[in-house]
Assembly symmetry: T
Homo-oligomer: 69 residues x 12
C-alpha cells in the first residue's frame, strides 16, 4: 500500500433486499470494468416506496482502485 | 414525477433486529396516516445498549410523499 | 438518565458479514473494558475489497457510557 | 417578529423550467394548506435527465410559518 | 423506548432573553398541539439586532414525539 | 429503476448567463460521451468577476447514468 | 494569479426577481467600495414570503479580491 | 428589508459568565465601529479551562449589517 | 502552549437547568480523573421532554488536556 | 476559462514523505492518462502508522480538467 | 485572553512551493494592514495545474485579531 | 486487518515548523502510551500568531490502534 495511487469512482447500487446487498451490487458492477478494486466507503442511502413499503434501496458507494503504473 | 410537489416528513424507526428493520418500521408508521409515499432517505443511526449488547437500533428517515393537488 | 455524565469512546468494528455485525463487534469490544455502556451512534462505513468482492466491512461507532460518580 | 414561534415544513418543488420556478411551486403548494408563511430556505437541487437534457428540476425548500397562538 | 416510532417536527422559538428561553418556547408551542413529546435537539441559533443590541434570539429545535400506534 | 446500477460523474459547467445555463452545459457535455444519463445533483456554484461584474458562473454537477449490464 | 493574496468578504444580496439577480446585487455592492474583485462563491439562499408568494430572495455570497501589495 | 444588501462580519466574543454574554459582547464590539447592525448567527462555542473549571467562554458570531447605498 | 500535545476526550454533561450548567458538569466530571484540562468545544445540544416541558439538557463537549511528557 | 466544461476526477496519492508530495503524486498519476488538467482541491488526509511512526501519507485530491469540445 | 473580542478575516494565500508557505503568505499579508493578529485556522486548499504539474497552491485561512477597545 | 477492532483517540500535536511535524508529534505522543497504532486521519489545522508571523501550528489527528483481544 506504499506508494500506490488510487482512483476513486462513485457508484449507486440498487437492491430490493437491503443496504448491504445494494453496496455489493455497486462493487460487483464496478468489478466488471475495473481491476484492482481495493476499498469502498458508503455514502448516501435512499430508496423508493411503493404501496407504503420499501421497493428499492439505493446506496451510493465510493470505490478506490489501484492505478496501474 | 413531472410537476409534482412532495412534502417531506422525518420519522425515527426503532427495531431490536437492525437498521433495515428500523427503516421499514418508520416507513410503515408513516404509511398509516399518509398516502402516496414515494421515496425515503436514511439519516442518523443511533441506539441503546443494555448489558453490553445492542438493545435497539433507532434510524431517522426522511420520507417524501406527493401532495394531492 | 437525569444528571448523569457520559463519556464517549470511538471504536471501529470490523466484520466479514455486514454493517450490523461490525457495529455489534465494536460494542462487544468496548464492553470488555468499560461498564455501563448506554448508547451508540453509527459513523462512517468503509471496507476492503478483494478479488472484486467485499472482504470486510469497517464501521466506526461512538459509544456513550456512564461515568461512575 | 418578536415572540413568535415558527413551524418549519420541508417541501420539494418540481419544475420543467428551472430552480426559481421549482421553489415558487413549493411555496405555492405549501400556501394551499398553511397560512402565515414567513420565510424559506433553499436546500438540495436535483433533477431528472431524459434524452441527454434536463427534464425536471427538483428543489427542496424549508418553509417557516407562524403558529397561531 | 423499545419499538416506538417517533415523528420529528422542526420549530423555531423566539425570545428576548436568551437561547434556553427560546428553546423552551419552541417546546411549549409544540406541546399545545402534539402529545407525547420525548426529546429535542438544538439547531441553528440566530437573532435580530436593534440599536446595536440583541433584540430577539431565534433558535431552531427538532422535537421528537411518539406516534400513537 | 429496479435493480439498476448508476455510475456518477462530476462535471463543472460554465456560463456567462447564469446558474441553470451552466448546469445545462454540464449535462450537455456529459451527454456527448455517455449514454443513459438519468439524474443530476447541483453542487458548488462559483464564478469569476471582471470589472466589478460577474463574467462567468461555474456550477459543479453530479450526473448519474445507468451502467449497461 | 501566481503569488497573489486574496481577501474574502461575505455579502448578502437581496432581490425581488431571483437568485442570480441577488448574487449580482451582492457583487455590485461590493464593487462600490472594493477594487480588484476576482471571484465569488454562492452560499445560503433564503428569502421572505408575503401573502403566500416569494417577496424577496436573499443570497449570501463570498467575494474574493486581490490585496494590493 | 426589500432590496438591501448586507455585509457580514465574523466576531468572537469572550465572557467569564456564559454563552449569551459572549454573544452580546461580540455584538456590542461590532456596534462600536459599524452602524445598522441587523442580525446575527451563532457559530462555534469554545473556551478555556483553568484549575478544572471554565475560565472563559468564546463564541463566534456572524453579524449582518446594511450597507449604506 | 508551544510544543505541547493535547489529548481530546468527549463528554456529555446533563443538567435540569440549562446549556451552560450541562457544559460545566461535563468539565467538572472530566476534572475528577484528568489533570491539566486546557480548553473545551461545545458540540451537540439535545435533551428530554416530560409532560410538555424540558426535563434535562444534554450537551456534548470536547475537552483538551495536556499530555504529561 | 470562459465557456469551458470541466470534468472532475478523484485520486488518492500516497507518499512516505508528506502531504504535498502525496498531492503531487496524485496529480502526476492523473497527468499520465488525462490531458488539460487545470486545478485541484485537497480533500481528506489519512495514512498508516508502523512501529509508532507515520509510514505513508494518503491524500485524496479532486482534479479538474477541460473536456475537449 | 480574558474578555477580549476578536474579529476574524478570511484570506487566501498563494504559493508556488506548498501549503505552509501559502498560509504564511496569507498571514503576512494580513499583518500589513492589521495589528494584534492572534490565531489562524486553515480552510480549503486548492490550486492550479499547468503542464501536468502543480503551479500554485491556494490556501484559505481565517485569521483572528484583537479589536482594540 | 480482518476481524480486528480499532479504538480511536484524538490528539492535537503542536509544532513551530509546520503541519506534518505537528502530525508526527501527535503520533509520537500517542505511541508513548499506546501500542499497535495503525492509522491516522488529519482534522482541523489551527495555530497561533505572534508579531505578525506564525508561532505554532496545531493539528488535530484521529489515531486508530488495535485493541488487544
Amino acid at each position: 500500500m506504499q506508494d500506490n495511487v488510487y482512483k476513486i469512482v462513485e457508484v449507486t447500487g440498487s437492491s430490493t433486499t437491503g443496504i448491504e446487498d445494494a453496496v455489493r451490487k455497486a462493487v460487483a458492477a464496478a468489478a466488471k470494468s475495473l481491476k484492482h478494486l481495493r476499498w469502498f466507503e458508503v455514502g448516501e442511502t435512499r430508496g423508493h416506496i411503493e404501496d407504503g413499503a420499501i421497493a428499492h434501496w439505493q446506496v451510493t458507494v465510493k470505490i478506490g482502485f489501484t492505478l496501474e503504473q
